[in-house]
């Protein structure tokens, strides 16, 4: 139990009034950063990094990781209230979180999201505490083929999830891939689909598309329906926390599944965004409430949030033990470590035990402090919905425009956002599912390049994906997931009840 002793020593380092104060400041800043689209956790940490150079490394990293926790919490707020994901990993939270808010259950959705973020993060921290060195070695096994397998599994676990027909899902997903491939090809440097337009060089940025498709599209739909956006049901009740917590224990299985998926994706490093999609996909498939997902099911908020935060937290693990950042924010933190003169890697645990265990202890404390802070603010957040629609609607359009602009500092993106908004409205109306499109847009580039790298290594031999147990196992699992709807449909047919289940 060396770890336990070291951890207690770490708590002794982290538990000082100064450090707690830094946590409160960091989480407040983080929530603001998470709420504003276009200011991601990575940006926020990067902007504030210079401020920390004069602090002691432990104090500095506590402040910066607290910002990170705050941003993770904050991303959920706008997703639930306005259908605008503040962060890429909160896209999956909108699928059920926003319908819940429309049904007048915004407070429950917020409490559910915050609580499950906390559970996911704590699970990951516990794993970091006890398994750090062992798990880190596992991450080194990942090559292009394994990466593609993981991405394939994410897509597969999400296939056929939309409300529309299978062909609309397919068209929507392929459109996402096509949009993702616009711009500079990362492997050969060729320009694809830019047609001489400089603005297209960077491709379609995921955040611009998401802000347009979800944010602007939602505003258009709400306007058409005649301002049913906030609804008189958005009553404020102070017992939201207790009311929601009572519902959570029966979802323990979803929590466990999402924690495992999240940790695994964080370490590998798949990242928080695919983790949240995969968590949602798996929960939809395996949960008893699965068929209600997308209509405002609390479990549909819990699953992606837990997975995203387990991933976001465990992404710090490879950074500490190997010096490989598991997420963009971890990469910025890594830069900070180097500036403070700390060399990440296996030796960090030996040379700087105070720092490492202080950091790990601050992860526990930071999450507890963060949870208490955001939970007390839930009535306040939910009250935003009571602001009259004719103020909220143009304000959201302005915030969306700011968010789209800051992605690349280009007005072109703001115009694109408006076009994506119309697309989002039309797709919604005609039941082209948006989640597959967004997923393909996020992962399309990575999936394509790891596929091509793997193919390059194997000289075009597709069996490279079954060349070892790890990769082969993931691929096979992915194939099973992909054909699961078809298999259940077939089984229903052979059972002879005449009803062919639609792959939905």
């Amino acid at each position: 139990m060396d770890e336990l002793n070291a951890l207690i020593g770490g708590f002794a380092v982290a538990l000082s009034a100064y450090h707690i104060m830094l946590m409160v400041i960091g989480i407040t800043l983080g929530v603001i950063i998470g709420v504003l689209p276009g200011l991601g956790g990575a940006n926020g940490v990067a902007i504030l990094l210079p401020l920390t150079f004069t602090m002691a490394p432990t104090a500095a990293i506590i402040l910066l990781t607290s910002i990170y926790w705050g941003a993770l919490f904050g991303g959920a707020i706008t997703s639930i209230l306005f259908n605008i994901p503040g962060e890429p990993w909160s896209v999956a939270t909108t699928f059920d979180g926003h319908p819940m808010a429309q049904n007048g259950k915004a407070d429950e959705a917020l409490v559910g999201a915050f609580t499950s973020s906390f559970v996911g993060a704590i699970f990951a921290v516990i794993m970091i505490t006890f398994l750090a060195p062992m798990v880190a070695k596992f991450a080194l096994k990942f090559g292009p083929a394994e990466f593609f397998a993981v991405q394939f599994l994410t897509f597969a676990s999400f296939l056929g999830m939309g409300r529309g027909t299978a062909f609309k899902t397919l068209a929507s997903m392929c459109l996402g891939f096509a949009l993702a491939s616009v711009g500079l090809d990362g492997m050969t440097g060729t320009l694809r689909m830019t047609f001489g337009q400089d603005e297209l060089l960077n491709g379609f940025k995921f955040l611009v598309a998401v802000i347009g498709l979800f944010g602007i599209g939602e505003i258009l739909s709400s306007m058409e329906d005649g301002l049913k956006f906030n609804g008189p049901t958005a009553k404020l009740r102070m017992d939201a926390v207790i009311r929601t917590w009572k519902q959570l224990p029966r979802m323990w299985l979803t929590f466990v599944r999402s924690c495992i998926v999240g940790c695994w994706m964080g370490i590998t490093p798949g990242g928080a965004t695919p983790a949240s999609f995969m968590g949602y996909g798996i929960a939809k498939r395996l949960s008893k409430q699965g068929k209600n997902f997308g209509k405002g099911e609390l479990e549909g908020v819990v699953a992606p949030e837990t997975a995203a935060h387990a991933a976001g937290t465990s992404a710090l693990l490879p950074m500490l033990t190997l010096g490989i950042p598991g997420s963009p924010t971890a990469a910025v933190l890594l830069g900070g470590l180097l500036i403070w003169g700390l060399q990440p890697g296996p030796l960090l645990f030996v040379e700087q035990p105070d720092f490492v265990w202080g950091l790990i202890a601050s992860m526990y404390l930071g999450n507890v402090v963060g949870l208490i802070m955001v939970l007390t603010c839930v009535p306040f957040f939910a009250a935003i919905l009571r602001v009259p629609f004719s103020i909220i609607a143009p304000a959201i359009v302005v915030i969306c425009a700011i968010g789209a602009y800051t992605v690349n500092n280009a007005m072109f993106d703001v115009w694109m956002m408006l076009i994506f908004g119309v697309m989002g409205y039309l797709f919604n109306k005609l039941r082209y599912p948006l989640p597959p499109l967004v997923l393909a847009l996020v992962l399309g580039d990575q999936a394509e390049s790891s596929f091509r790298q793997a193919m390059l290594v194997s000289q075009g031999d597709i069996s490279v994906f079954w060349s070892n147990w790890l990769c082969g196992g993931i691929m096979t699992l992915g194939l099973v997931m992909a054909f699961w709807p078809a298999l259940t449909a077939l089984r229903a047919k052979f059972a002879g009840n005449g009803v062919v289940a639609r792959p939905a």
């Binding site: 200011l39 392929c174 050969t188 689909m193 258009l220 425009a401 115009w415 109306k429 193919m455």
Partner: protein, 170 residues
């Protein structure tokens, strides 16, 4: 998504029309991507791997096939397809937010995002929300100032600015 025709005004487009239009949009995208993919090559090159056009080409091939199926399904006249998807009243309300939004983005090019946002929010409150003038002015100015402080002053994120901000020294 049900529309009550008496209350919701004249129907403008049916689901069938929209479905066909979107399927054709997909096919146009498909054609554009295919042409460009063929230009940069879709073959397998020894020691170089797949050429950059290979992956998008087959992706949009799948998209094209799926869209043809969608188009074929949308074409026959059905009861469901004949239902009105967009009514004149709904379109009017959407235009009330969207057309000013386009003007707002256009104005951002010239007078900066803060001034145009103030006008956009204020005007929408005044004309659509029927707020009194002073409330519209206070709220829209407040939102713009908070945003200005947040982005320009605290987080140092530069947003498009116009002559007013220049006069204030930013």
């Amino acid at each position: 998504m049900s529309t009550n025709e008496e209350a919701e005004g004249r129907p403008l487009a049916s689901y069938r029309t929209l479905d066909i239009a979107v399927a054709i949009f997909f096919l146009v995208v498909c054609a554009i991507v295919m042409v460009d993919s063929l230009r940069i090559g879709i073959a397998w090159k020894a020691n170089e791997g797949p050429q950059p056009g290979l992956f998008p080409f087959y992706i949009v091939l799948a998209m094209g096939i799926a869209s043809l199926v969608n188009l074929a399904r949308a074409l026959p006249h059905t009861e469901e397809g004949a239902e009105a998807a967009v009514s004149s009243v709904g379109l009017g309300r959407m235009a009330a937010i969207f057309v000013p939004a386009v003007v707002f983005v256009l104005a951002t090019h010239f007078i900066g995002i803060y001034v145009s946002a103030t006008i956009y929010i204020g005007a929408f409150m005044l004309f659509f929300g029927k707020f009194p003038l002073w409330k519209a002015v206070v709220v829209s100015l407040g939102i713009a100032i908070v945003n200005f402080l947040m982005f320009e002053v605290w987080f140092l994120v530069p947003l498009p600015k116009g002559p007013l901000e220049a006069a204030l020294g930013y």
